[in-house]
Structures are given as structure tokens and as C-alpha cells.
């Protein structure tokens, strides 16, 4: 699977017209100099040769050297950014869970109430508003007009060099807008899932039985209903991890959040092949691992499922 991914990624990256040097062309520079650089990075070799040398290095953990970020290894360039993206994705995931489950649950218990209708309306809005647009609107309202949150970056200049709680709070402060923007679609989707699943389960026989046994409503809701209703949702959350990482591309761009997404876009513009391919593989791997995790979680939340 991963092998196939490497072929596709390599092929697509090479198929894009231009190369790292056409993107930044400068007539004051002797074309020979560019040619020398191409030679140095092996861009003039045949494709299979380039692929094999890249794959060979990759397998041994050597992701190569970035062409745009001169003098830095791909590993170095990516590892700086990936922590930021992980923070952002986790934050968005937590927001998604924190909002989607209670809202979905409440809607399911009080179907067709004004709350349910409002939630449904917002759900559809959330699904249909593109992330970048919501991002820009939230910057306009919460950053420019109200000034509550910073609109750009992941940390203030003033706290650079500091550690501990100040740094943490500052980072959190910077995460709010991009986090909500990224989490918005998730909240809308999962809210709907939770509502549907919970109301299905609520109508099931065993819930009726549980109620008939005289169990407390909260016990029925949390022990019997929620646990069963969450099974399909956990699977989806596994996928979500990969989606969040890749979905962060646009959100990060709008908020100038220095994560994997902005790096990805910059690298594509600069045709920084080694970085593009490494990020692609990373995203691909994350989605695969996400699925695996989902399968494992599945068996934990649902003891009926066992893999032999």
C-alpha cells in the first residue's frame, strides 16, 4: 500500500510542470548557474533513477535535503512545523468532540424542539460554508473588530523564548480562531451523526428494556445509548485525523499558521520536491494509521467485534 503511494506521489510531483528553479527565476542569473543546481540535485537524471535514489534514501530514513530551504534537511523543515499542526488538529478534534456530542445528544433527546432546529440549521450552515470563508469572517469580527484573538501566526513575538504557562496560554490564544475554523465542519458533521445514531438507539428494544427495568435516565443515556451510538462515530474519528491534517492546509494558509499545511503549499509553489513528497507520504501514512486506530478502537468500544 505504502509502496504504491510512493509511486503515485513521486509520479505526480514530477508530472507538475516547472522545477524548483523555474519558480524563482531571475534574469540576472546566468542560466548555467541554474543548470549546475539541477545537476547537483539530480534533477536531470532519468525518472526511474531519481525515483530509486529517492526511495532508497527514504527507506533508510533519509528524506533528503530541501531545495528551497537551503542547507536544511527535509526532516528538520518538517519536524519544526508538524508540532504546530498537531496542536491545531488536536485542538480542533477536541472542540469537535466537545461540541458535537452534547449538541447531538440533546437534539436527539428533544427532537423537533427549537434547539434541535437551531442546531440543524447551524449544522447545515457549518457544512456549507467553506473553511477559508469562515476563517476570514472570523478574523474580521473577532480579530480586527473586537480584537479578542490574534489573527495570524501561532505565537506572539513577545513571548518568544519564554516557556511554561505563558507560552502555553499564548499558543492557546492563537489556536482559538484557526481551531474553530478547522473544527467547524467536524462539529456540524458529527453533531448530525450523533443525533441520528442516538435517536436510533433510543428507539431500540434494549433501551426500552433498560427503561422498563427502572434504570435511571442518565444510566440509560450514558451507559446504554451513548456507548452504542458512538461505535460508528469512533470509526469516523479515525478518518478524521487524516482529514484534519490535510484540511489544515487551507485553514493554516488563511491564519498564516506555520504548520504542515502552509509548508505544503509553499513547497508546491517552489517545487521543493523532497518536501512535497515527504509531506504527502506523511499524510498518506497518517490516514492509513488513522484507519488502523479506528479499527482497533472499534473493537474496544464494541466488544462484539473481534479480529482474528
Amino acid at each position: 500500500m505504502l509502496f504504491l503511494l510512493t509511486v503515485i506521489i513521486f509520479g505526480l510531483a514530477q508530472a507538475a510542470p516547472g522545477d524548483p528553479f523555474t519558480a524563482n527565476i531571475d534574469p540576472s542569473v546566468d542560466p548555467e548557474v541554474y543548470e549546475q543546481q539541477r545537476e547537483k540535485y539530480g534533477l536531470n537524471d532519468s525518472l526511474p533513477k531519481q525515483y530509486i535514489s529517492w526511495l532508497g534514501n527514504f527507506v533508510t530514513g533519509d528524506f533528503g535535503e530541501s531545495i528551497h530551504y537551503k542547507g536544511r534537511s527535509v526532516k528538520d523543515v518538517i519536524s519544526v512545523r508538524i508540532t504546530n499542526t498537531v496542536y491545531l488538529s488536536l485542538f480542533a478534534l477536541i472542540i469537535t468532540i466537545l461540541f458535537a456530542i452534547p449538541i447531538g445528544l440533546y437534539s436527539a433527546r428533544n427532537p423537533y424542539s427549537w434547539f434541535d432546529y437551531t442546531a440543524t440549521t447551524f449544522g447545515f450552515l457549518g457544512l456549507s460554508i467553506p473553511g477559508f470563508f469562515f476563517g476570514l469572517v472570523s478574523i474580521y469580527i473577532f480579530a480586527l473588530n473586537l480584537g479578542w484573538f490574534p489573527s495570524q501566526g501561532s505565537v506572539s513575538v513577545s513571548v518568544s523564548g519564554q516557556t511554561g504557562i505563558t507560552l502555553f496560554l499564548d499558543r492557546l490564544h492563537h489556536l482559538v480562531l484557526p481551531g474553530f475554523t478547522l473544527g467547524l465542519a467536524g462539529i456540524a458533521t458529527y453533531m448530525r451523526y450523533v443525533r441520528t445514531e442516538v435517536s436510533d438507539v433510543l428507539k431500540s428494544d434494549y433501551v426500552r428494556t433498560a427503561r422498563a427495568k427502572g434504570m435511571s435516565e442518565s444510566s440509560v443515556l450514558y451507559k446504554h445509548t451513548l456507548r452504542n451510538a458512538l461505535i460508528p462515530i469512533v470509526t469516523l474519528l479515525g478518518f478524521e485525523l487524516g482529514v484534519l491534517l490535510s484540511g489544515a492546509v487551507i485553514t493554516e494558509q488563511v491564519f498564516n499558521y506555520p504548520g504542515l499545511g502552509t509548508l505544503f503549499v509553499d513547497s508546491i509553489t517552489n517545487r521543493d520536491y523532497p518536501v512535497i513528497m515527504a509531506i504527502n507520504l506523511l499524510l498518506g501514512t497518517t490516514i492509513m494509521v488513522g484507519n488502523l486506530v479506528a479499527d482497533i478502537l472499534y473493537s474496544i468500544v464494541d466488544p462484539r467485534i473481534r479480529y482474528d
Binding site: 534574469p27 542569473v29 542560466p31 537551503k70 474580521y140 495570524q152 501566526g153 518568544s160 506555520p258 509553499d266
Partner: protein, 584 residues
């Protein structure tokens, strides 16, 4: 030589202080607030500037690759000489110089009390070291691109190829005297001495191959220059902080700090208006559409001046053969003439058919200047007046086309060529900047005079560039933006026959000879002579029209009025930054 940046057309630079515009209150917008009583400069305070994209991160003037790195380095590093408002070279690290009679040597006397950010004295050895590095055989193979500054120096080829170990191009006579020697007489010697100097004592222990990986290039705290500000810290891709260098040789800077934030273009203006940003200047710009808004703001001062970028509509006059493209050969002998646009009169008709002022007004909110020739207006050598003029005149365009035999014989509303064959011009442009919107407008205007245009799907800029270079294709028309050299008016980097950037493949020997005449020979040392030759060249250019200059861009910079002492030059706002101050 002649440094041109093939522009990502979105960027604008600057020029002659055409103090036009003016903000809402009617005071001149360009330059400083001379006519406002702002009091005496105060010490202290910090200002925040913006970059719309993150710099690549190599903070070394000899190895930087992008314009964000370049701009930041303007505050931290200095050259021997620097261009002034008239684009002549003034003293900076060199206080005086003497040029020999043959125009082959220039001897600089250096300022003596200059120190590097780490306290070491700046001497002639640093100058020698910088230029020796630029000429080193390992320089280009390590990713160095700035060889234009050393190419005309003595024995460049031999030294660069490792044929000689002896370095005699730049020689330190004593600690504060240094001589530059050239292979041939050159009319603009100072240009080559304007390169920023790097410290020998820092880099001498670093092999050239490792310079870009060295912490002295990558780690802000370790970057050492002679400029008024020194890097202090950065949060990569987010913010870059500079502190004043207290022992700066021209006097301690007023400001304590300059902070640079990477901010998305779409929110820059908002942050400027809310006071979170103090200035937006090159390589960033105020979007034309926001200009009126910003000008209305009483807290903000707008600087609007002519830029060094021109937007052009080009004709593929010749195509290279496939084998030449394959082998990377540029040999005019082999070129195949593109008959569809070979008639000079037809190109002139097309120039009359394009409503350039309309594009400036309609697409650019009136920002941009109409010029007929590509030498930047900021140079004395620019001469649009004596060139052919192409006012928007569709009737005249039709008249010319009729005369030349391009008439509609089939009755489909479009003209055929003089032989009665179908005549369709293929039109290619990229999706970069305004090209995507300019393209269809021009296509429509050409169809209005009966020229059938096949406007192709715009391509992403990199892809477009690759296509325009490999020109064994069926292209006839294209759009491109050129960021022109502000150090010298010589246009040969783009418009001489053999340069690869001559995308029109313009093969006009008369024009080419003029360009050579202006650069070589004793007469070329005379400025008036050079200007006359360039006037002649511009006339030839505007008559033969390999490219129609659509407009020259204007740079739109702005700063909060709390930031005082701004003294912009035609090509940068980061000038005399040690005199900047804030009145809080």
C-alpha cells in the same frame, strides 16, 4: 550585469518620487511629513512591519534566494556604495573613491569607525573576502546566484574555473583602502561595488560549501552585518525581530526594535488600519482596491511612486527549433520566423487596438503609468516622448490592418491574412497576478478590430514559464511582467538577442548593436552619449515592437503616522532606518 527580477507581477517596487496621490487631507503623500509639525525625534519604541510570505531563512546576502530575505537584509547589511534618489551611487561604507582614466579600476577609501554587530572592526579585508567568495569556484555549485556583481571583474572566468589561484580582482591596499579591477572599461563601475559586505572574521572558518548551512546564515542571533539593526530572534515563518545596533557607525538608531510579522495578504490592510502593523512596504504592497480606504485614514501615510516593474504584451516573433530547445541552444541563425506576427505594421496596429489606459483605470483602480518603452522612467535614459506613440485608436488599427491586406474575405467577422488564409493568434498567459484578468480584456479588444484570438486556458506561473522558454510551440502572444534592474538602465538582460529571457526571440541587430554601443567603448563613459544611444534604442524598440508595454506599475506603501523619519528611495523604503523614530 543588470539585474532584473522576473516579477511575480503582483509585486511592485518604486521610482522617481512622483509625489502624486495625496491622502484624504490633501497633503502630499510621498516622502516624509515635512510639512507637519511632529516634533523632535525621540529615542525608543518599536515598530512592526509585514511580510506577506515567509522568507526562506538564509540570512546571508551572498546566498539569499527570495525577495523577503533580501529586504530584511537591507537593514542589517551594507555595501560600499548605495543608490540615491536619482539612482546615482552615493557613499556608504566607502567614504570616497577614485576611478582611473581607463575606467578599469576603482579605488575606495573606507569609513574607518565602522564595526560589525559583534564589535569587530570592518576593514578592507572584509570587502576582499566577500568578493573572493563570490568568485570562488565553489560559489555557484553551493547555490550562489549573485555572480552578476563579479562577472566583469578581472580574471573572473579563470578564477571561477579554478585555472588560477591568484586573486587580483579586489585588492586591499591597506586596512581602509581597497581597489576593484575590471577586465574591460565599464561605464558603471560603482554598480559592481554596491554588493552587501559579509564579515571575514565570521565566515573565514566556514567552507563555502557549508555557508548556507552555517548557523551564521541561519540563526538570527548569529547573523552579523554592519547595518543599523541586527537580528535578535525569530519565530520561524511567523515573526522576525531586529534590535538596534547601538554602535552603528552613522549614529545610534532611534528605534529600539523592528519586528516583522508574516501576515496573509488579505488581512494586512486591516491590521495596518487597526494599528497592529506600522508599515506595509516592499516587497508587500497595499492592494490597489484598498488604496482609497487607506488614503482616507488620517493615521496612515501613503507612499505612492513609480515602480521598476513593467507589464508587457509580447509577440513571439521567432520560434526556436525543437532540437535547439532540446539542447538548450540560443542561436538566432536557426530561428524560425513566426509569420503570423512578423509584420511590424500589424504589431503596431495591435498596439493601437489595446486600450492600455482602460486597463489601468478599470482593472488597476487607476494605479499604473502609461509608457512606450521599457527603460524605467526613473532613469535619465528613459525617453518615451521621442518613441512611437500608441494611443488607443481602434479605427487606426483597422485602417493599418486593411492597408496591410489583413481583411475579412470569408465574411465571418474576422480578418484573414493577406493570402486569404485563416489568421488566428494564439494567446497564452499565466494565472499569476492580474494576467488572468488582463488576458481576456486584451483578447476582446483585439477581436473588436477583427483579429481572431485564441486565448488559451491560463496556466500556473511555473508551468507558464517553462512553456514560454521552450518556444518550439505555436505561441503568438503572451503576457509577462518584468521587474527591471534599478542599478543600471541597460535593458540587455531581457531585450538583447541572445539572452534566454528574450522571450519574444526578437532578432533586431540594429537594436542589439545600440545596446552594445552603450556599454562598451570609451564613448560609453559619457553619460550623455549613453542616454542618446538609449533614446535611439527606445525608438527602435517602440517602432519594431517586440513587446507592447502595457503599463509601468506603481508601488503603494503605507505607514502609520506614529512612525516618523521615513525617507523612501525609488527602490526601497528601508533607507536611513537609523533615523526612523516613533512619536508615541
Amino acid at each position: 550585469m543588470k539585474r532584473l527580477l522576473l516579477l511575480l507581477s503582483v509585486f511592485i517596487a518604486s521610482a522617481v518620487l512622483v509625489a502624486c496621490g495625496g491622502d484624504g487631507t490633501g497633503e502630499p503623500a510621498a516622502g516624509t511629513d515635512d510639512n507637519e509639525d511632529v516634533g523632535e525625534p525621540q529615542d525608543g519604541g518599536s515598530v512592526t512591519g509585514t511580510l506577506k510570505e515567509a522568507p526562506g531563512g538564509v540570512f546571508n546576502p551572498i546566498f539569499y534566494t527570495d525577495m523577503y530575505e533580501e529586504k530584511l537584509l537591507e537593514l542589517t547589511h551594507e555595501g560600499l556604495v548605495v543608490q540615491n534618489e536619482e539612482l546615482d551611487f552615493d557613499a556608504l561604507l566607502a567614504k570616497d573613491w577614485e576611478i582611473n582614466e581607463e575606467q578599469t579600476e576603482v579605488t575606495f577609501e573606507l569609513e574607518e569607525d565602522v564595526t560589525w554587530h559583534d564589535g569587530e572592526p570592518f576593514t578592507a579585508d572584509d570587502v576582499v573576502f566577500t568578493y573572493q567568495t563570490l568568485m570562488d569556484p565553489a560559489y555557484t555549485s553551493s547555490g550562489g546566484l549573485r555572480t552578476i556583481f563579479v562577472e566583469p571583474l578581472l580574471n573572473y572566468e579563470a578564477y571561477k574555473d579554478g585555472e588560477t589561484e591568484e586573486y587580483e580582482a579586489v585588492v586591499a591596499e591597506d586596512d581602509y583602502t581597497v581597489t576593484f579591477k575590471f577586465d574591460e572599461p565599464n561605464p558603471n563601475l560603482l554598480y559592481f561595488a554596491s554588493f552587501p559586505i559579509i564579515p571575514e572574521h565570521v565566515f573565514e572558518s566556514v567552507p563555502i560549501e557549508e555557508m548556507t548551512e552555517s548557523t551564521y546564515s541561519l540563526d538570527p542571533e548569529e547573523v552579523v552585518g554592519t547595518g543599523p539593526f541586527e537580528f535578535s530572534s525569530m519565530v520561524e515563518r511567523e515573526s522576525y525581530e531586529m534590535e538596534k545596533y547601538e554602535d552603528y557607525w552613522q549614529g545610534e538608531p532611534h528605534l529600539d526594535k523592528i519586528v516583522w510579522k508574516v501576515v496573509d495578504e488579505s488581512v494586512q490592510v486591516g491590521l495596518l488600519e487597526s494599528g497592529d502593523l506600522d508599515f506595509i512596504a516592499s516587497p508587500s504592497d497595499i492592494p490597489e482596491g484598498d488604496l482609497e480606504d487607506v488614503e482616507m485614514n488620517d493615521d496612515i501615510n501613503v507612499i505612492k511612486q513609480t515602480d521598476f516593474t513593467v507589464q508587457v504584451l509580447g509577440f513571439k516573433l521567432n520560434h526556436r527549433t525543437s532540437s535547439d530547445v532540446q539542447n538548450n541552444v540560443i542561436d538566432p541563425e536557426n530561428w524560425e520566423e513566426n509569420e503570423k506576427v512578423a509584420n511590424q505594421k500589424v504589431r503596431q496596429a495591435i498596439a493601437h487596438a489595446v486600450n492600455r489606459q482602460g486597463i489601468i483605470d478599470g482593472l488597476n483602480f487607476g494605479v499604473g503609468e502609461l509608457v512606450e518603452t521599457p527603460i524605467p522612467q526613473q532613469f535619465e535614459a528613459h525617453n518615451s516622448e521621442d518613441a512611437n506613440q500608441y494611443p488607443f485608436d481602434p479605427e487606426k488599427a483597422e485602417e493599418i490592418l486593411d492597408e496591410e491586406g489583413y481583411v475579412d474575405v470569408t465574411g465571418d467577422g474576422f480578418r484573414e491574412d493577406p493570402d486569404g488564409n485563416e489568421w488566428v493568434l494564439n494567446f497564452n498567459y499565466s494565472s499569476k497576478g492580474k494576467h488572468e484578468r488582463t488576458g481576456p480584456i486584451i483578447a476582446e479588444q483585439l477581436e473588436d478590430v477583427g483579429i481572431k484570438v485564441n486565448a488559451r486556458q491560463p496556466k500556473e506561473f511555473s508551468a507558464f514559464l517553462e512553456d514560454i522558454e521552450k518556444d518550439n510551440s505555436d505561441w503568438d502572444l503572451y503576457l509577462i511582467g518584468w521587474g527591471l534592474n534599478h542599478r543600471d538602465p541597460d535593458p540587455s538582460e531581457v531585450w538583447s538577442i541572445k539572452t534566454p529571457y528574450n522571450y519574444a526571440r526578437w532578432n533586431n541587430e540594429e537594436a542589439d548593436d545600440l545596446l552594445k554601443k552603450a556599454m562598451h567603448g570609451e564613448e560609453a563613459f559619457d553619460e550623455d552619449f549613453r542616454e542618446d544611444v538609449y533614446t535611439e534604442w527606445q525608438q527602435e524598440f517602440s517602432k519594431d515592437l517586440p513587446e507592447i508595454i502595457l503599463y509601468a506599475e506603481e508601488s503603494l506603501w503605507a505607514h502609520n503616522k506614529r512612525l516618523q523619519g521615513i525617507d523612501p528611495l525609488p527602490y526601497t523604503m528601508y533607507h536611513n532606518a537609523h533615523l526612523w523614530w516613533v512619536n508615541d
